[in-house]
């Protein structure tokens, strides 16, 4: 009987610093066939562990379409993320997953997509954005609205440039008032207000929203005002999870186990949950 808590051994292929305290790892499987056998869906998450420090939960930031590696982005905060910060290229860390459900991208085929992300919450959306862009023709027009506190806090700066350059993607980036630098070309304002201005027409459009709780709290009503029905709005919850397998009883909001039935939920499902997150 195999041990469900046993992580894959990964080593760090590459790392890039996205913003102060935020870093992205590109992980390759130490063991080849494990790597080849490994599959995951966009929107799923995993538990990354530093041996000696512990495990921590964040999403798989790369798209399933990219085969031989997975990426993850984390901000230096607690014990495990500090330990991750101390790792160098070539070091070994553990990864358990993939867990949780996925963004139902098949259901969105033929529809417009609008991605709304705030601050450090772009990584979960990045996975699904790249997934959709790799199957670009399946979707009508794609809008990305991404805001952060300051210009320096914007993550995946080079990919933002790439998306901006593409003509089949409409990228809107904004920074909170006061966070802009002299040569900042994007918008200035909080994400909810920018969404109100630049969001595409709501019919036949799927909205995918992800950000800190206060951003979610103000963005959902705006989308509703713009006509997005609750079942057309998807989000992913980064709740505190420990085992990722529904055993440790940590991640429940009401009777929903975020690690089993989430982390991707529709706004409708969220509204039914008790206010406990």
């Amino acid at each position: 009987m195999d041990n469900i808590y046993r992580p894959y051994l990964m080593n760090i292929g590459d790392m890039t610093d996205e913003a102060p305290g935020v870093r992205t790892f590109r992980l390759n499987f130490s063991n080849e066939e494990e790597g080849n056998k490994f599959q995951f869906q966009t929107g799923q998450f995993g538990l990354y562990s530093v041996f000696g420090a512990g495990e921590s939960t964040f999403c798989i930031a790369s798209s399933p379409t990219k085969k031989d590696y997975i990426e993850c982005t984390f901000r230096q905060a607690g014990r495990v993320t500090n330990a991750l910060r101390e790792l160098n290229i070539g070091d070994t860390l553990g990864f358990r997953g993939p867990y949780g459900n996925m963004f139902p991208i098949e259901k969105w085929e033929g529809k417009n997509l609008v991605f709304v992300a705030g601050g450090i919450a772009l990584p979960p959306l990045r996975s699904v954005i790249w997934n959709c862009l790799d199957l670009r023709d399946k979707y009508k027009n794609v809008t990305i609205i991404y805001g952060a506190k300051t210009v320096a806090d914007l993550v995946y700066k080079d990919e933002l440039k790439e998306w901006n350059a593409r003509d089949d993607v409409n990228l809107v980036t904004t920074v909170d008032p006061g966070g802009e630098t002299p040569d900042w070309a994007g918008k200035v304002g909080f994400v909810p207000t920018v969404v109100e201005e630049t969001a595409p027409d709501s019919n036949d459009t799927i909205a995918i929203v992800c950000g800190p709780p206060i951003m979610i709290k103000f963005t959902l009503p705006v989308l509703e005002k713009l006509g997005f029905k609750q079942d057309k709005v998807y989000t992913t919850l980064e709740n505190r999870m420990k085992c990722g397998l529904g055993k440790c009883g940590r991640c429940n909001i009401g009777c929903t186990y975020v690690c089993k039935e989430g982390p991707v939920f529709t706004a409708e499902e969220i509204s039914k949950m008790p206010d406990e997150f």
Partner: protein, 281 residues
């Protein structure tokens, strides 16, 4: 006694000097009482007083939920009143924020709790109002107060180690001992600090030893020997022996008894030139 308590509680609530009364109510069995929080004058008859009121109610001064209920009147026995003195000295409460309703007591617990066998605080040493007639506090000599330790101190080193290892092995790290203790009021306890993790959270012998030793040490010169930690331990570890040993050493070396005198300095926060140093080479 009960009538007097209820009358006084009702007065306090009606005159709005306090918002809530922390008292003892019937428990789920006749031999048990539980803490009750009376906010409305008409509920005062829930209060009771008998020899099963072992609970140290001052522990609710540290919890945010019960603090939000407003200025409390706390029913305290002599031993519990000592906690008030320590909490005042450690800036956790202000004297005007607490109404101390003292009760004279000649022993609680069935069979009689060990702390009551050598009790010298039948009448609380600090109170705003007293229920029950004053009993003269006896002067109990040093050895009698710490008699309970003698049999353990006589053990050989190996016997001591084996005894405590057997006890600590039972520990399940439920932290009832530190949650019940009125003087364990750190929001984030040292056990919860994981950068670095000084004390292993796991309940194996190594983690249990470092937890129990550290918990006892952090109460050195502070613990007032209310024996709640020992009462609430689900696996029945004699925790108060550790605290009593530290209290004995503090009194022997620094002539300091915790919770007896409001103005002398806390034992572990000061020093004297002539402190004992015979074990220094």
């Amino acid at each position: 006694m009960i009538e007097e308590l209820r009358k006084k509680a009702e007065e306090l609530l009606r005159s709005d000097t306090v918002k809530v009364v922390f008292g003892y109510g019937e428990g789920s069995t006749p031999e048990r009482t539980r803490p009750v929080f009376i906010t409305k004058p008409e509920d005062v008859n829930k209060l009771t007083w008998n020899k099963y009121c072992v609970y140290n109610l001052t522990t609710y001064l540290k919890r945010q939920e019960t603090r939000k209920l407003g200025k409390p009147a706390i029913i305290v026995k002599g031993c519990d009143a000592k906690t008030i003195i320590v909490l005042l000295k450690e800036c956790q409460i202000k004297r005007e924020d607490v109404y101390v309703l003292g009760v004279t007591c000649d022993g609680v617990g069935e069979p009689l709790a060990t702390k009551c066998k050598a009790c010298d605080v039948n009448t609380p040493r600090i109170y705003d109002d007293l229920v029950g007639e004053k009993i003269e506090n006896k002067e109990i000599p040093f050895d009698e107060r710490y008699a309970e330790l003698d049999e353990y101190e006589k053990l050989s080193e190996k016997e001591k180690w084996d005894f405590w290892q057997k006890q600590f092995a039972k520990c399940i790290k439920c932290y009832a001992c530190s949650s019940i203790c009125p003087l364990c009021f750190c929001d984030r306890c040292i056990v919860d600090k994981n950068q670095p993790q000084w004390i292993d959270p796991s309940a194996h012998p190594r983690g249990n030893l470092s937890w129990n030793v550290t918990r006892a040490y952090h109460l050195a010169g502070r613990c007032i020997n209310c024996e709640e930690c020992q009462r609430v331990c689900p696996v029945d570890i004699p925790l108060n022996l550790l605290n009593k040993k530290l209290a004995k050493e503090t009194e022997k070396n620094f002539k300091y008894r915790s919770g007896y005198n409001i103005d002398d300095e806390l034992a572990m926060s000061t020093y004297k030139e002539e402190d004992n140093q015979d074990f220094f080479k």
